[in-house]
């Protein structure tokens, strides 16, 4: 571990194991596939400015790269040109790179000490697929992302999905959004986060969303079970490198839904199961299912206060801890589902919602792109 507290770099090596935070989250999905620019989501998260403290802001956007819809888009942070060179050589060994460019940004006085920000659109080389004939493309890409984040000093992949991207950094989210020129992207689904880190320093990689493949998670709260979740995930090849608790949520969703093919509702039940006292009162069949989930997925149980918005290609999940220790409001209007920490953050971008409600703890709110909507 070298240069631990180097001031002029974003910090890869931080001693603390996790951070907890009182933050703001907001997100919406147009289920009819309609796309819109990043203006509205920036206004929504900006209205909760005081829930963050300027040490982290970020966004996830889906449907933004239709010209490269079949390519994985890697968003990268580099400390140094050397880190970039090493990483690009590593990427070139496994991937065909269709396009590579700096992530467009604008000069903003308040955004400082930024890493080099780069993106490349890639597909796996045929020989890599052959070598890993027993793995899916997603498995191989996740493995390469884990390798870069763990083993290449000064390099971070902060987004690795297809036709989506995460944009994040140190600053207030409204500034980060303008820095990344989000008004120039068109997405059918946007999420945003304002960070108020409390246990570790704010650094570029530690801002939300946390992305792996096409999963992105924005999170308000603290995962008290982080240690257990982290050890559990390590069994399946997930390595926590971000020094913040939120990344375990992204990996758990990837494990339970993508790899174990659990329905979303069941995965949420495993992560925020009812209390045993509630399980005892359930009808037999339901009690058997939930007891089994608690037994099999004990290591995936998320304890502590949290509200999160989890997104993936074609869907969005708003999700609270089971005793609702963090706020979450949901609303619907026409074909759009909204979720946010505060009602005003929704009303600001949605006049007269048809429905607005406070979801119960542990009860997921799910929005899905309609089947007939073409993604590309």
């Amino acid at each position: 571990m070298q240069d631990v507290w180097r001031e002029d770099r974003h910090r890869k090596w931080i001693r603390d194991e996790k951070d907890s935070s009182g933050c703001a989250i907001s997100g919406f999905i147009h289920e009819d596939g309609r796309r819109e620019s990043g203006d509205a989501i920036i206004r929504s998260i900006e209205s909760m400015h005081d829930r963050g403290n300027g040490l982290g802001g970020g966004f996830a956007a889906y449907g933004i790269y239709p010209q490269f819809a079949e390519h994985y888009c890697l968003h990268l942070m580099y400390d140094t040109p050397q880190a970039q060179q090493v990483t690009e050589e590593f990427i070139a060994a496994s991937f065909d790179v269709a396009h590579s460019e700096p992530i467009p940004t604008r000069t903003l006085e308040v955004i400082r000490r930024r890493p080099l920000l780069w993106r490349c659109f890639v597909t796996l080389k045929a020989e890599v697929r052959d070598r890993h004939y027993d793995l899916t493309d997603d498995d191989i890409v996740a493995m390469q992302v884990m390798h870069i984040n763990r083993a290449i000093d000064g390099a971070f992949v902060f987004s690795s999905g297809r036709n989506m991207g995460c944009f994040k950094g140190v600053g207030y989210p409204e500034d980060i959004g303008r820095f990344f020129r989000l008004e120039e992207y068109e997405a059918y689904m946007w999420t945003a986060h304002a960070r108020f880190p409390t246990n570790t320093t704010g650094w570029w990689g530690g801002a939300h969303p946390f992305g792996l493949l096409d999963w992105a998670v924005v999170h308000n709260g603290e995962v008290s079970s982080y240690g257990i979740n982290r050890r559990y995930l390590a069994n399946f090849g997930y390595h926590c490198t971000m020094h913040t608790d939120t990344e375990v949520i992204a990996y758990l969703f990837d494990l339970l839904i993508r790899k174990h093919a659990l329905p979303i509702e069941v995965a949420c039940l495993a992560m925020a199961p009812p209390l045993w006292s509630e399980i005892e009162r359930m009808p037999d069949e339901q009690r058997d299912l939930v007891s089994m989930l608690r037994a099999v997925y004990g290591g995936a149980l998320l304890n502590g206060p949290f509200s999160v918005v989890v997104t993936f290609t074609g869907g969005m999940i708003g999700f609270n801890d089971r005793i609702k220790l963090r706020p979450m409001v949901a609303a619907r209007k026409n074909h759009t589902l909204y979720v946010a920490s505060e009602e005003a953050a929704i009303r600001l971008i949605c006049d007269d919602p048809q429905q607005i409600w406070h979801p119960r703890g542990g009860e997921p709110v799910i929005g899905r792109l309609r089947q007939e909507v073409a993604l590309a």
Binding site: S277, I323, K324, E343, A344, H358
Partner: protein, 253 residues
């Protein structure tokens, strides 16, 4: 700032203002002798009426932000819309009327004054509400309450009427009145034992309870409409703590 024809009433727009500016303008209006301040375009502005004393009236149009009426000591706030979280946090005196629903931790640690909510509220309403000498916190919720209603309640009166619920929707969630050790709770429907904390006992209302309930239902109807007798016609139950010091054995050496 514009003064309307109504004597002493100041109308303000919150549009484009951060909460600090808005709250300073409200204070200036009352300092300047206004009896009433009407706020338009409120959307997430925090701390409205926070720490405010006197006998003024604030009328809010929109969605006021968190900690509205926190530490308030005297005024009345009427909201035409939904409230967010932590309304009347540690309020000392005054009155809050919400013509909609409210979020989590309504009346958190409230020490005195009255809250009326037309609809339902989120989790932990009335957590650690209190009373002391002439001060008594009083809350009337028209709809249903989320889990942990009146958790650690130390005093005051919590009434949940249970009006307008969905089929099968309970009047209050689980862990109702857990740790309650003072005050009184009145619910407009029966509640299963498993929803209650161990620290309370359930009983029927006596004559004094019914008289008190009627006074608050009259206030509710005066604020939001409806008929007093229709509401009083429901089956009400009362929750009282079984001990004033449920944790005395745990924490006292």
């Amino acid at each position: 700032m514009t003064t309307t024809a109504q004597a002493g009433c100041v109308t303000l727009s919150a549009r484009g203002k951060v909460y600090r500016e808005l709250n300073e303008e409200i204070r200036r209006a009352f300092d300047g002798g206004a009896a009433c301040v009407e706020l338009h375009d409120v959307i997430g502005h925090r701390y409205i009426g926070c720490g405010l004393s006197g006998s003024g009236r604030i009328v809010v149009h929109g969605t006021p932000g968190n900690d509205m009426a926190a530490f308030m000591d005297g005024p009345e706030i009427v909201v035409h819309g939904n409230g967010q979280d932590a309304i009347a946090n540690t309020m000392n005196r005054g009155r809050v009327v919400i013509h909609g629903e409210a979020g989590d931790v309504l009346g958190h640690s409230m020490r005195g004054g009255t809250i009326l909510v037309r609809g339902s509220v989120g989790y932990r309403a009335g957590i650690h509400m209190k009373s002391f000498r002439d001060k008594r916190a009083e809350v009337v919720i028209g709809g249903a309450a989320g889990d942990y209603l009146g958790e650690y309640m130390a005093g005051g009166l919590m009434i949940v009427l249970g009006l307008g619920r969905l089929p099968g929707q309970p009047i209050s969630g689980i862990y109702t009145a857990t740790g309650m050790h003072g005050g009184k709770m009145i619910l407009g429907d029966d509640i299963e034992e498993y929803r209650l904390g161990r620290e309370v006992g359930k009983s029927d209302l006596d004559t004094a309870d019914r008289d008190e309930l009627q006074r608050f239902v009259e206030q509710y109807v005066a604020a939001f409409g409806g008929r007093v007798e229709d509401i009083l016609n429901r089956h009400f139950v009362k929750l009282l703590p079984v001990s004033r010091r449920p944790y005395g054995r745990i924490y006292v050496y």
